[in-house]
């Protein structure tokens, strides 16, 4: 037998002791709530100073007129000139086209990533991530070299006899879109890949078992289930395109003007920050509206119908 010392069992709890316990537990609960607030406060402060304050400042700048007084003249400037409206439309159009091309290119890549065995998908994932980690400026200038008049693309096409003389591929819409797609496509692939990975492989098997051909099962089962990830990726790409500056500025060669470039021009053109700030606020508002609509769309899709 082991050497065990037995202690007497504790007696029944008294009323006073019970009451003291209750008060102590209540005290602990309050202390925990205080502690939670104290721990969250620094993070909230950082968010407020770095995110909320600048936006409020931007808002306030946009309603300061040329004379230093409070006015809406910066916004009136926008609505008075047709060129601004056209530029906004063009920005949204480019963002839309880039998003669609990203979907067409990115969906098959994400699908491959999701279904290939891990060793192969690892290599393919690197092919997606390495450009993603490379500076956007470097990649934009690379496209400038590749697409220029005597670049490798034009030379190859001439050599192959597809075209007689070099065609303009940069300093226009084509170059802008190519460059933007290249920068943006990982932002579509990554969330899409994550949502495809989460699709249970047995669902496609169940589809086949019930009589679906592989193509039919893809359109009835896989595609709808990957939709939330696809929409998330599209929102990401679209919103980032709206405020894109570097790539359109370089590859557009000044001929393609998007909002971000116009904002930059306003800063150097006008003596005050007002007009630029107003443009920025309008862009922010329109982006917010787009996000709102998209999120509604995602909910609607996630609900299944």
């Amino acid at each position: 037998m082991a050497d065990v010392t037995s202690f007497p069992a504790p007696g029944p709890i008294g009323q006073a002791e019970f009451e003291a316990n209750r008060r102590a537990l209540e005290r602990d609960r309050r202390a925990e709530t205080r502690m939670r607030i104290n721990l969250t406060l620094p993070a909230l402060l950082v968010v407020f100073v770095l995110m909320v304050c600048p936006i409020l400042w931007l808002l306030s700048l946009s309603v300061v007129g040329g004379d230093g007084g409070l006015s809406l003249e910066n916004y009136a400037l926008f609505f008075s000139e047709q060129v601004y409206v056209e530029m906004f439309l063009k920005t949204f159009m480019i963002a839309f086209v880039v998003t669609i091309i990203c979907v067409l290119l990115g969906y098959p890549v994400a699908y491959l990533l999701a279904i290939l065995p891990p060793s192969w998908s690892g290599v393919l994932m690197l092919a997606v991530l390495v450009p993603f980690w490379t500076s956007g400026l470097v990649r934009t200038f690379s496209w400038l070299i590749i697409l220029q008049r005597n670049g490798i693309v034009n030379k190859s096409l001439v050599w192959l006899g597809v075209i007689d003389k070099p065609i303009p591929l940069v300093h226009n819409m084509t170059g802008t879109v190519i460059g933007m797609v290249h920068i943006m496509v990982p932002f579509l692939i990554l969330p899409l890949y994550a949502s495809m990975k989460a699709i249970d492989g047995n669902l496609m098997r169940a589809g086949a078992n019930l009589g679906s051909s592989p193509t039919h099962a893809f359109f009835r089962i896989f595609l709808p289930l990957s939709m939330p990830g696809l929409v998330a990726g599209m929102i990401m790409v679209f919103v980032m395109c709206l405020g894109f500056y570097i790539t359109p500025a370089i590859l557009g060669g000044g001929k393609i003007k998007m909002i971000a470039q116009r904002i930059e021009e306003s800063i150097s053109l006008y003596p005050t920050w007002g007009p630029a700030a107003a443009l920025a606020v309008l862009l922010l508002l329109m982006t917010a509206v787009c996000l709102f609509i998209s999120l509604k769309l995602v909910r609607w899709l996630a609900a299944g119908r």
Binding site: D200, N202, A206, A208, N209, L210, G211, I221, L225, G304
Partner: protein, 366 residues
């Protein structure tokens, strides 16, 4: 509810093998399934039972062999052309469709008329006792309900045969037992040839007409639940189905013997059988006080020993007895008042009685 007549087709698996590189997941398996039979493929994980089911469903391509339904060879058919119903392990219900759309899916594919689709879907839901659940979303269902919907979807299009891959493994114990009975009753009503896979021997015993036990990619034994329990051929089967302890047997001129004690066996033992063991089912041994060890003779074997431990397990008591020959044996005694009156305690000398009819010999290997 009107009963629809479903087909009862024989299935024949012949010399079926599946190799993954050097791994022989399934090796030369042959068996016949009778029309309307519920056959369970039973085995530990890695025994090849799931691979076999996947080959029948068409999701895994055999290395060689033949699978026939009635007289049609299906080994070359892609899964969507096999017309086989299947209940998946995690049910694989389409989360973006309602219950009704899930069940109607195979019917829509087969271009049934709208009224026929509605009619059949409703009947299938009624059959699994989920009538009126058609508009529910999959994520609103409990595990047991999902299981039933998966079953309804698998039978609604009247497939030639039905496959079930660990159909109850995701359910809790109580629900599992209820569903075992329910699936069995549903099978009896439909009469559809069914192949189920499980690693749960209790589930296999409860549901099956016959059980095929697999070990290391090979078919170890096939038979009715009673056959497998009462007459296992090998130690593996005896251990996998039910509980069992074993005593080594020697071949002597007087017959098989444990030590010097000649054992009266239920069947004659074939001499060429290699190393053999005496199988002792815990509930077939009778525990009596050492001095009451009379009655040894042509129909009863008696072993002397000492009680090591007594474990109370609710409906029964489990004794571990160390025989004088040096082997540990488990004995189960029903928790009944007449048994409890003179309950042996740890350390008591006891005798174990084994009727001749219960003295079964099994192969030590395979």
């Amino acid at each position: 509810m009107t009963e629809r007549k479903t087909s009862a087709l024989p299935v024949q698996v012949q010399m079926l093998s599946k190799h993954f590189g050097n791994v022989r997941a399934v090796e030369d398996v042959s068996f016949d399934i009778r029309p309307g039979e519920l056959l369970t493929l039973l085995g530990p994980s890695g025994s090849g039972k799931t691979t076999l089911l996947m080959m029948i469903a068409g999701f895994s391509r055999p290395t060689r062999g033949s699978i026939r339904i009635a007289d049609q060879e299906i080994v070359h058919l892609p899964p969507h052309k096999r017309n086989i119903g299947m209940v998946f392990q995690n049910y694989a219900l389409f989360p973006h469709m309602t219950v009704g759309e899930n069940v109607a899916y195979p019917l829509r594919l087969r271009k049934f008329a709208r009224s026929e689709i509605e009619d059949r879907t409703r009947k299938a839901l009624d059959m699994v006792q989920l009538g009126g659940y058609g508009a529910r979303r999959i994520n609103e269902l409990s595990g047991g309900q999902r299981q039933r919907i998966a079953l309804a979807r698998a039978i609604v299009f009247e497939p030639r045969i039905l496959l079930m891959d660990e159909p109850l493994s995701a359910l809790d114990k109580h629900l599992r037992e209820t569903m075992q009975i329910e699936i069995r009753q549903l099978h009896d009503r439909l009469g559809m040839t069914t192949i189920s896979v499980t690693h749960d021997q209790r589930e296999a015993l409860t549901m099956s007409d016959r059980i095929a036990v697999f070990s290391n990619g090979r078919l170890a034994q096939i038979g009715t639940p009673t056959e497998l329990y009462e007459k296992p051929e090998s130690r593996f089967i005896a251990e996998f189905i039910g509980e069992s302890t074993f005593l080594p047997l020697r071949h002597t001129p007087e017959g098989a013997a444990y030590g010097e004690q000649v054992i009266h066996l239920a069947d004659d033992v074939k001499q060429a059988a290699g190393e053999t063991l005496l199988m002792l089912r815990p509930e077939r041994l009778r525990l009596v006080p050492a001095d009451g060890a009379t009655g040894a003779g042509g129909d009863t074997n008696v072993f002397a020993g000492q009680v090591n431990t007594v474990v109370f397990q609710g409906e029964s008591l489990l004794f571990e007895v160390m025989l004088d020959g040096g082997h540990k044996v488990s004995v189960r005694m029903a928790n009944r008042s007449e048994n409890l009156r003179q309950l042996p305690q740890a350390g008591d000398r006891v005798a174990l009685k084994l009727e001749r009819a219960d003295a079964r010999v099994v192969r030590a290997e395979g």
